[in-house]
């Protein structure tokens, strides 16, 4: 008897009573396993909050320092695309939440449908982002790649934006700080898009598994926890939309 009699031992009679295939040996019950997995996912999301936190801090500081440049930079963003993206992502969160419900209520076809919709909406978001990024590239607003101050030192040269905002020209030494705005814009939306791409990849994998019924047999943990990740990415976008697109539409 390797253990000393000093410790009590629980009777082993219910050790193998209910033992689904997916129950790992170091857990006592599927509840404990699901609980632990969900908690682990939340902790991971907290690390993601802190990861993005550094970028938000930088943005807030520099917006405070170079307000006119950040206003001018923000005017270059298209609120229509941004709003559409927000609607797309919120809808994908809805379809993802519905997917979790389908998994919990063992609706295999419903789950597959919801995951496919989420996938398509996710791709839609990235498609719109591509349109926006391409616009930036065409206008030479990508830092480090023939960045042009034209639109800011001479706003009239950019009629589309000028007709909407009638910005005053920026002095050159303030205009250079628009490059910082766009650095942060690409960093924050790029980091967000990277998380979307990873999410869409996992969604693709999940659609195949869902079709095989892997998530509608009581073991919903994977879908549930992926849902948490997807909603988190949505929450980040909600703040990015407000900070990058909306708060600087009316400058001084």
């Amino acid at each position: 008897m390797p253990d000393s009699p000093a410790i009590h031992h629980e009777a082993a009679e219910n050790a193998h009573a209910e033992h689904p295939a997916y129950l790992r040996h170091h857990f006592e019950s599927t509840d404990q396993q699901a609980d632990a997995a969900g908690f682990a996912m939340w902790l991971f999301l907290v690390t993601e909050v802190m990861f993005f936190g550094g970028l938000f801090t930088a943005y807030l500081i520099y917006r405070n320092w170079y307000y006119p440049a950040f206003v001018a930079g923000s005017h270059q963003l298209n609120v229509f695309w941004g709003t559409l993206n927000t609607v797309v992502l919120i809808s994908s969160s809805f379809t993802m939440a519905m997917g979790v419900w389908c998994a919990e209520t063992r609706r295999r076809r419903g789950l597959v449908l919801c995951l496919i919709f989420t996938f398509i909406l996710g791709l839609g978001f990235l498609g719109i982002k591509t349109i926006e990024y391409r616009e930036k590239i065409e206008k030479h607003h990508v830092p480090g790649f023939h960045y042009s101050l034209q639109s800011f030192t001479n706003p009239a040269s950019d009629p589309e934006i000028f007709n909407e905002y009638h910005d005053k020209p920026l002095a050159p030494d303030m205009a250079v700080h628009t490059e910082l705005y766009f650095s942060l814009y690409f960093l924050m939306t790029g980091m967000h898009a990277l998380h979307m791409i990873i999410g869409i990849g996992i969604l693709g994998f999940m659609i195949f598994r869902a079709r095989a019924g892997d998530y509608t047999n009581g073991h919903v943990t994977f879908v549930e926890n992926f849902g948490l990740y997807w909603h988190f990415v949505d929450v980040i976008w909600i703040y990015l939309f407000a900070l990058l697109y909306l708060i600087s539409r009316h400058g001084t």
Binding site: P2, S4, A6, H25, A40, Y62, P143
Partner: protein, 556 residues
Amino acid sequence: MSDTIVSLPDQSTARIPKMNYLTKENGILSWLLTGDHKRIAILYLISLSFFFFIGGSLAGLIRLELLTPQADLMATDTYNKVFTMHGVIMIFFFLVPSVPATLGNFLIPMMIGAKDLALPKINLLSWYLYVIGGILAIYTMAAGGVDTGWTFTTPLSTHYVNTNVLTTGLAVFIAGFSSIFTGLNFIVTIHKMRCPGMTWFRLPLFVWAHYAASILMVLATPVVAITIVLVALERTMGIGVFDPTKGGDPILFQHLFWFYSHPAVYIMILPGMGVISETISTFSRKRVFGYTAVAFSSVAIAVFGFFVWAHHMFIMGISNYAVLVFSLLTMMVAVPSAIKIFNWTFTLYKGSITFETPMLYTFGFMGLFTIGGLTGVFLGASGTDIHLTETYFIVAHFHFVMVGGMLMAFLAGIHFWWPKITGRMYPEKISQLAAVVTFIGFNFTFFPQFILGILGMPRRYAAYPPEFQILNVFSTAGATILGVGYLLPVLYLTWSLKYGAIAGNNPWQATGLEWQTQSPPLTENFAQMPIMDHEAYDYEWLENQERKEKEVASAG
């Protein structure tokens, strides 16, 4: 010193249990693909020791250079690289993972009565990330090193050096994720996998300390990750976020960097404090004084540790108001650490103290951490910090807390749990000698550095004014002694694997669930799920159990 609490089984009949976690499976793949937290702990121990000796060799080179006032052993550029790599390797590849990844991994499931950590595959991933980061760090050294100092301060690291900032940053980034996953695993395990009866306040204080450190790992490390990304982008694409010529602020880098790096020092020390709670109780045969206070002060150190980071930046250009606020907050963070020292000291009072090797290291910790911590108060006061910062006073301060404190605690823990991990005892006399040699060597090495700092010798300088030479020579002499002190355990611990005495379940007659099972343990830790029915450090309960065992043995 003739008293000892060591109680070994009869050596003529004792055997290492045939079935244990080491013998369960054989072959290299059973180790490289293991999910067993104990095997992963051993993997970490081996890789950590490797990095410790690289970092230590770099320290040896530093001390050799500083024997003479001129920069004559190596070019100043090379010296910069040596102290940078020493810092990077010692901090990220030794101190941060040391106790948590070895002792924490091995013991936490056993201490709470679980079969493994909550996420064994993530645990293995943590080790692989650590190894990959470490290989990158070694590659960096081979590729010519990096010379910015481990703090990578901008704009030096982003604009003015042409050394391997990116690869070092990547190595640290990857090692950071290793740390995050370890902390995440611990938090989930401690919350969700305690055995029946194991309430929060029956947990060993070792577990509380790791819980607090894990909170820091999870919340703080991601910020240094994004900081490294920003430095990399600044360096490669010139985004301007830290570049004054583009309107960026180099101080922002420091804010983001120290937001992690200050909690990092608590990540490093808290697990060591957890070890001390265990050893001081065992070798005084007394429960830790003020268990609740020690438990809560661990968490308090973690929480307050988040609010003080800019005390590393007092002279860097932050506002006077910020200096004031952060100095005040720093005074607060010293309090929980002091509470722990008081409580450990009161644990000793009226205890039955014996002086086995873990206890010698523990006494070393108590004295040296106290000195290091008190000098931290001098540094937290912004008035004195202005004169002492960037001098050898800082170097001495952090070596006292990290080497005199943390490394001693690590060695205390390795010796204390060595019988549990391997089933064998280390040789007592030579290990006590090594502990004393280490203590003497440490003081000779680092105490003169306090004086050097007050006299004004700057840190990170290969050349210094001749009047500082005598103290530097003392310091290097001490470092040689310290090196011997660190080499000895490697030798005799390896020796003990084959020739050490068989330890039995509980050679220290310690409380704690890990001591109630065989040494080395089974892969699943316990033959059956234990039930916790007594308080932590309950020596009366232990005596009752031993009495019952004797009765059963004599009756049967």
